[in-house]
Symmetry: C2
DNA sequence: TAGTGGTCTAGACCACGCC
DNA sequence: GCGTGGTCTAGACCACTAG
């Protein structure tokens, strides 16, 4: 079956964005320009742009055009307050473990899929600080099968998701998460510089992606005392 | 300015659902039926139905129709695992405090708006249990100005949101939330039947609604030991 | 005023669900 | 086979932004 016309246009534009031909703040071609270059009607052009809007790649501006925006990377994930606010460079990310081959860890809360567990696993972990204060520890696991070369890669702008998009054309399409309040064990307490047994927020995550059977598993441990976790949602 | 045609149709259908003329599982009129009854084209009828889909009132089924669905009431709110799964009546909700006039409580984490703080406040609180195990305490505050009679009302299906929709035509349009891991104080510990100082998940919520300047403020205290908080999100 | 996105009409053909 | 929603064409007028 032929690919739908609007999806062809949608994917073409998405690729341009992912490849960096359009960067944040740029305007995409207008609806009329798309009509003539793709030989489609405005209905179809609009549908393509509306889909990109839903996906968070662009924003429509009446009377101006369709502007490329910073893609919301959380998708239901919660943000540490202070991480989003502190844009001035107050946020520091320290690698506890650079990406390397490893075993699938039993610490992963969600069930790793059958097809993944047979493959090699890449693991990396980071400590996130606001100013000098450690706020969150982040452990990540993912299948190493399709991510050749990730181990030697510098993350773009320090963002793993941005690297996934621009190097591998993989987008986050959803997530499952589970939250528990726990007492900090010794390891966590030392890293977050808090007393043993302090209440911490433990978040287990399974990210779904645009690539079939490729998921990202994360375990987060947050000190919410100074930097609570927040998010908002609006229709 | 004239109301947009698609929004007229959208609001008409929404009202029918809110009033209970269509209940969960019912099919709305087909696109073609809407076309003739409202003298519009399919484009406009589809736009109305697409908006209702986005709002979560209906679900579109290719080849069948548009079916009324249980409106997602969480909207970014997290669900206690077990609350959603345990449909069999295993979930119990106990009123600690039936709705009554009260003062705006300093315990509310988000800032209460100027216009609200001058008005009377309704407060109610509930204990939510899975089986016999208390899992969550819920404190709620809202402006009493526009909710005449709420105090004497039975909640429809035990749901405050459903009552809001069907009695007052007010829908939840979004929420802000903030999460912290804390140690249970004496009050919380007694109610949740856990040792003093146990780690609990404290969630502060501010719900936005379709009514201007009307918000609902909640403070939740969850024992995540047996019933962790979970949610998922997909594009 | 020119160009953009937002709404809307009046058609057409196709894919899906069901009888 | 028939009715449903999904895609698409070829137009039109309007509202908004900016030079």
């Amino acid at each position: 079956m032929e690919e739908k016309r609007y999806r062809q246009v949608q994917n073409f534009l998405k690729l341009q964005i992912q490849k960096g031909y359009y960067v944040v703040g740029d305007y995409l071609p207008s609806e009329n320009e798309l009509c003539s270059s793709f030989s489609i009607t405005r209905t179809t052009a609009r549908k393509a742009l509306d889909e990109l809007t839903k996906e968070g790649f662009i924003e429509r501006q009446h009377g101006k055009g369709s502007i490329v925006r910073e893609r919301r990377q959380s998708l239901g994930l919660l943000n540490v307050k202070g991480f989003s606010e502190a844009v001035g460079g107050d946020v520091k990310t320290i690698f506890l473990q650079k990406p390397q081959m490893n075993f699938w860890n039993p610490e992963i809360h969600f069930t790793v899929s059958e097809s993944e567990i047979k493959e090699a696993c890449i693991h990396f972990s980071r400590l996130r600080c606001v100013g000098e204060i450690p706020a969150m520890i982040e452990y990540n696991w993912l299948s190493g099968k399709i991510l050749e070369g990730l181990i030697d890669l510098e993350f773009i702008d320090g963002s793993f998701f941005k690297t996934l998009s621009q190097h591998y054309r993989i987008e986050i399409t959803g997530s499952e998460q589970e939250l528990r309040a726990e007492n900090a064990n010794k390891n966590i307490a030392v890293l977050l510089k808090i007393p043993l047994g302090s209440p911490i927020l433990h978040i287990s995550l399974k990210f779904h992606t645009s690539k079939n059977n490729f998921y990202i598993y994360s375990e987060l441990y947050c000190n919410t005392e100074n930097y609570p976790i927040g998010n908002s949602y609006h229709i």
